[in-house]
């Protein structure tokens, strides 16, 4: 649904986005992570045909991000929630949505149905005639999401959808995105919130001008060398420790109370051998667990590595 090939954007001598190549499938929720000024918003703006690319290719559905004609078609099929909600404070929630529905060429009947459905879904229907300026930040964010959905877009771009929201409002917005995920919409989401990305996104791209990594949250968490095996023992004896240290697959071993914390190359393959050795040395194994890197660990490691290059 979304495809880019060496997508690049320069502002004078500054390269904001460099050679980004990625593919987002239909119905996929793709999270774009990166520090401030990593080029996330610039990428979204290029994909929404708001700014031009310097080089490379980008395609949304059957349309190239290039000609004015294709860009109009792209803008018709995508919905955008920008970083700033940008609603008209003096107009009512209904009027705001109606205005955008008209610009997106939604027929009147369908427009009225969509506004009612979205506002009811977001629990704002009773306040539809109130000026947007009277709403809380979270409610404004919900209206802005409804605005992005007013024309039933196939692709939804969300730029920091829960930024600056209190935890309750952020949860409401997150739950709504999960509802949209069930509707099988393609969602491209810029976020700083790693926990949110891990919970919502099917795949995550980490960007720092260049695309550093793209994978599912689970695979990203497994990708770093920080995975360890933890063996909980009834009691830790010298014999067990010596047996473990003798194993060639064990690269490093630490102890903590009755636990062994081990570094190995291939946990799945090496764990059975490890357990056998411990049992043979007289150890009573209570649990064997895996210590994984969190998405935050992976993100920080990758960003640091990218910064060092």
């Amino acid at each position: 649904m979304i495809e880019t090939e060496n997508l690049t954007r320069k502002f004078g001598s500054l390269t904001a986005v460099e050679n980004v190549t990625l593919k987002v499938d239909e119905g996929e929720v793709f999270g774009f992570l990166g520090p401030n000024a990593a080029g996330k918003t610039t990428t979204v703006r290029m994909l929404c045909c708001l700014i031009s690319k310097t080089s490379g290719k980008a395609r949304i559905g059957d349309f190239e991000v290039d000609s004015e004609e294709d860009c109009l078609a792209i803008r018709k099929m995508v919905g955008l929630l920008p970083e700033n909600v940008g609603l008209y404070d003096s107009l009512s929630a209904y009027r705001n949505l109606d205005f955008y529905g008209r610009l997106y060429e939604v027929p009147i009947q369908k427009r009225q149905e969509n506004i009612e459905r979205l506002l009811k879904l977001l629990d704002i229907w009773e306040r539809r005639d109130d000026a947007v300026g009277t709403f809380s930040k979270g409610t404004k964010q919900k209206i802005a999401i409804a605005r992005a959905l007013i024309h039933d877009p196939k692709v939804l771009f969300l730029d920091e959808p829960t930024a600056n929201l209190d935890p309750e409002a952020a949860k409401t917005v997150r739950d709504f995105i999960l509802e949209l995920k069930k509707e099988k919409r393609t969602i491209f989401m810029n976020t700083h919130n790693l926990d949110e990305a891990g919970r919502i996104c099917d795949r995550i791209g980490i960007l720092k001008t260049r695309l550093i990594a793209v994978d599912s949250p689970e695979n990203l968490e497994r990708s770093t060398s920080n995975r360890k095996t933890i063996v909980h023992l009834e009691s830790l004896s010298d014999a067990v420790l010596a047996a473990v240290k003798k194993l060639s697959v064990v690269k490093n071993v630490r102890t903590s109370e009755n636990k062994l914390i081990l570094d190995m190359d291939n946990l799945k393959k090496d764990n059975p051998e490890l357990v056998r050795a411990i049992v043979k040395a007289g150890g009573n194994v209570q649990f064997v667990t895996e210590l994984r890197s969190s998405l935050e660990d992976v993100y920080l490691k990758l960003i640091r590595e990218a910064g060092a290059q």
Binding site: R45, L50, S52, L80, G86, L91, Y100, L103, A144
Partner: protein, 250 residues
């Protein structure tokens, strides 16, 4: 260019202006006051001279004053967009609503035309209301005292029909350009007033130093304003581009 798209943008802006009391009162006050004040000055001046002038001389003096004051409505039409156009463009910047607006399947030209229309319609409308009050008051006085309708005359018709809308368009376009460089409505209004100063000076100079017959002068002004409008149109179009707005507008 799909004009219906521009109309959607224009009607949204107009409904926002209706809710803004500052804009509403500013739009009404100036033309309304001028519509009453200018005939009042005319009538008092003529009545002061009435005893020393023949009826023909009185009509001639009245016509000179009326023609001079007619020109003032061009100035009003050029001043009003400094209030409203700054809200239309800088207001969008302040509410940060340009990005979602630019993300819709609407061309830059359609958006620019819609927003310009939203500034143009109320300004010209308000000017015409002021001019109508002016005509009614003058004619009411002249029919009672002189037995003739002094307005509308050819000069008035050209000024109202051609010069006023052209001056208004020029002011709207100038305000689009100014709005791209400032982030404050008051600053936009002050700069806007500065930009329309040449129009005011030309109008005042042309109407007081009568080197041409007035109708010829009105036609020359129309031509000059039309050329300036075209030049300003290309300048404002170059300013109002998606890319420029998102990456360079302050």
């Amino acid at each position: 260019m799909r004009f219906w798209k521009s109309w959607i943008v224009a009607t949204k802006d107009l409904s926002m202006f209706k809710k803004n009391k500052y804009i509403l009162y500013s739009l009404i006050a100036l033309p309304f006051l001028m519509g009453l004040l200018l005939p009042a000055i005319t009538i008092f001046s003529l009545q002061a001279e009435a005893s020393s002038l023949t009826e023909a001389q009185l009509i001639e003096t009245a016509t000179v004053l009326i023609d001079l004051f007619t020109t003032y409505f061009v100035i009003i039409a050029a001043v009003l967009p400094t209030i409203i156009a700054s809200y239309s463009f800088v207001g969008e910047k302040l509410e940060k609503s340009l990005e979602p607006l630019l993300a819709t399947p609407t061309t830059d030209g359609e958006l620019l035309f819609g927003k310009s229309l939203a500034a143009f319609i109320p300004c010209v409308g308000a000017t015409y209301i002021g001019a109508l009050i002016f005509v009614i008051t003058i004619d009411a006085w002249s029919t009672i005292n002189l037995g003739v309708f002094l307005l509308p005359n050819l000069y008035w018709a050209i000024v109202m029909g051609v010069v006023t809308p052209l001056a208004c368009v020029l002011s709207v376009e100038a305000n689009v350009i100014i709005s791209s460089r400032v982030n404050d409505i008051r600053a936009a209004q002050q700069l806007g007033a500065f930009v329309i100063l040449p129009i005011i000076l030309v109008m005042v100079f042309a109407s007081t130093v009568q080197t041409f017959p007035l109708v010829t002068l009105a036609l020359i002004l129309s031509g000059g304003l039309a050329l300036a409008d075209i030049a300003m149109f290309y300048l404002s179009k170059a300013t109002f581009q998606r890319e420029e707005i998102l990456t360079k507008w302050k």
